[in-house]
Every structure is written in structure tokens, then in C-alpha cells.
């Protein structure tokens, strides 16, 4: 039995390239979290404990505009963005295998990227290696770069003079962009943005964002603007993950394409 078969090597390569690319996001998260009002410790605990980029950005985004009063909306926003990780976890369950400790550790590492790299591999061994290697690499990289970004953000001070408020909007756009691959998500994105903007002058900070989530529920349950054939959950995750995977890998697009 060879340890380093071709499939394992391919999974490790994909894990390394995705891990390095995603870790760089950590710097912007750390800087934006500090400018949103968190201290360096709170920023680092968020990356260690929550460990889900979209949810973390959502939490600090709502806190930045609404302060402590927006706490419940910030928690709800982070949790709603975390629901996709539950979908990924269902997909990863059979790949991770049994064992309480192993499953709890796997749950913490279940994010867009670890799921994407895993589902892009063709053998069970490759899928396992891809999941764990990507999850562990990003966990280390994301937390180290969060600390770096938080320290930099702390030193910068004035938020708007450095354009960091604009960087927050751009960061959300970057998380959204790879998901706009079909008509349905594009329609949902535009409608949700309109709903949020229209409600912003009338409701407390964070609440318009939650109201916009209603667009997804209505369109998703009715499958409006969607394709006619029914997709299984596994196919949805694979499509979703590969789209994210492609965006992160950039020049390594073929890695994700093979599995779809």
C-alpha cells in the first residue's frame, strides 16, 4: 500500500492552493473586525470559534452599522449564513465516517472550501485527504492572518480615511460573486439587495438584511427562475462547491471542473 498515491497527491495539491488563497482573506477580516469595534482578542476568538468566513463577515458588518443594539440581528445573520454549512455537513458525513470526536472535529472544519476540495476528488481516500488537509490548513492560516489583520487594523485607526468601509462592501461582493452562476441566484441577489436598501431607512440596523433572506425562502420553495429538473441535495452541494472552488483557485480551475 502506497501512502502517496496519485489521488492523495492531487487532493493535497488542491488543499494547499485553496488554503493559501483563502488564508489571505483573513487579513481583511481581521482589519475590518477591529474597525467594526471588536478588540484584537474578540476578533481572534471569532475566527477560532465560529470559523466560517461568510458568517464572521456578516456578524461584524451588522455590528459595524448597528452597534451592540444590533446584537440579535447580527447573531441571526451569522447563523442564517451558517445554514449552508449544515448542508455541506450532510454531504461530508459518509466521507468523514463514524466516531464522535472525529465528527465534532470535522464539523468545526466543515466550510465552503474543505467541502469543495473534497467533493472535487474522485476516490473516497482522496475525498477524505482533501477534506482534512484543506480544513486544517485553512484553520491555521485563517487564524494567523486574522491576528495579523486585527493588529494592522488597530494601527490604522480612522476607518473611512483608508476606505475600509468600502472594503467591507467589496468583501461581501467577493463572497457573493462565485455564486452568481445561474439565473435563479442572480434574481435572488438583485431582489434581496433592493429589499434591504428600501427597508434600511425604516428598520434598525441588521433587520433589513434578515428581511431580505425572505426572498431566498420564497424563491427557493417555489423554485422560481430555477431549472425544471429536480436536483438532489448532493448535486446542489457539488455545483455550489465547485463554483466557490473555481473562484478560489483562479488559475487552477481544472481541479474543480473534473468533478462536476
Amino acid at each position: 500500500m502506497r501512502f502517496r498515491d496519485a489521488e492523495t497527491a492531487s487532493a493535497l495539491r488542491a488543499a494547499a492552493s485553496v488554503g493559501v488563497a483563502v488564508s489571505a482573506y483573513g487579513v481583511s477580516f481581521g482589519a475590518l473586525a477591529v474597525t467594526a469595534g471588536l478588540d484584537v482578542w474578540q476578533t481572534c476568538v471569532l475566527s477560532l470559534l465560529m470559523f466560517s468566513g461568510g458568517s464572521q463577515f456578516a456578524l461584524i458588518g451588522v455590528i459595524a452599522s448597528g452597534g451592540l443594539a444590533a446584537g440579535p440581528a447580527a447573531i441571526a445573520g451569522a447563523a442564517l449564513l451558517g445554514t449552508r454549512n449544515a448542508v455541506y455537513a450532510m454531504r461530508m458525513g459518509p466521507i468523514v465516517g463514524p466516531g464522535l470526536f472525529r465528527r465534532v472535529a470535522a464539523a468545526h472544519l466543515t466550510i465552503d472550501e474543505s467541502t469543495a476540495v473534497s467533493t472535487a476528488q474522485t476516490t473516497l481516500r482522496g475525498q477524505r485527504v482533501g477534506f482534512w488537509a484543506t480544513g486544517i490548513l485553512i484553520f491555521i492560516g485563517w487564524n494567523l492572518t486574522t491576528l495579523l489583520g486585527a493588529v494592522i487594523g488597530d494601527l490604522l485607526g480612522d476607518v473611512s480615511r483608508w476606505g475600509l468601509d468600502a472594503a467591507a462592501a467589496a468583501a461581501f461582493l467577493g463572497l457573493l460573486w462565485p455564486r452568481l452562476v445561474q439565473l435563479q441566484p442572480v434574481v435572488v441577489a438583485v431582489a434581496a439587495a433592493v429589499v434591504a436598501v428600501v427597508l434600511t431607512p425604516w428598520l434598525p440596523a441588521g433587520v433589513p438584511v434578515l428581511a431580505a433572506a425572505g426572498v431566498a425562502v420564497v424563491v427557493g420553495l417555489g423554485n422560481w427562475f430555477g431549472s425544471r429538473e429536480a436536483h438532489t441535495l448532493a448535486e446542489e452541494v457539488a455545483t455550489d462547491s465547485v463554483a466557490t472552488h473555481d473562484a478560489h483557485l483562479g488559475e487552477h480551475r481544472h481541479d474543480g471542473g473534473e468533478a462536476s
Partner: protein, 103 residues
Amino acid sequence: MTLWLIIIVASLACLALKLSGYLVPPAFMERPRPARVANLLTVALLAALVATQAVGSAEGLVLDARVPALFVAAVLFSVRVPFIVVIVAAAATAAAIRAVFGG
């Protein structure tokens, strides 16, 4: 509600969601609706956050240097420029506009 409490509660909620996925029977995976709603939920929330971060403020809606910065970011993402480079470019755009025009 303190900031620490918000951080801990939100983190535990996110971890509980991840764990819940490992407890659901695999047969659930054959249903298209939960997956579709979860994926679209992500899209809707991110789009709403883009919009509110771009034009929201304590006083309601404000059009300022964030909007052209977001436009620059959209153009760069469309030609597949790496995330971190786009973020820096967007911040630099807003900072430059403010340095020139004030505000």
C-alpha cells in the same frame, strides 16, 4: 448584550448548525428543497450585506465614495482578480476619492 456574549452565542449557533448536518439521516440528501433554500439564503444575505454596506449609514441611505469603490470591485471580480487585491483596490478607490473631494 455585550460584544463578548454576541460573539459566543453566534459562534455556538454556527457550530451547532455544522454539527446538525452530521446528525441528519442521508435520505434527507435526496430532497432538493432544503439545499436550494440554504444556497439561495447565502446569496440573498450576501447581496443584502453588499447593498447595506455600500449605501447604509446611521442616518439612513447615503451615496458616497463607497459606491464607485464597489463598482471598481465588481469590474475586478468579473475579470477574476484575486480577492485580496480587489479589497485593497476598493479601499484605495474610496480613500483616493475622499482625499481629493473631502468627506
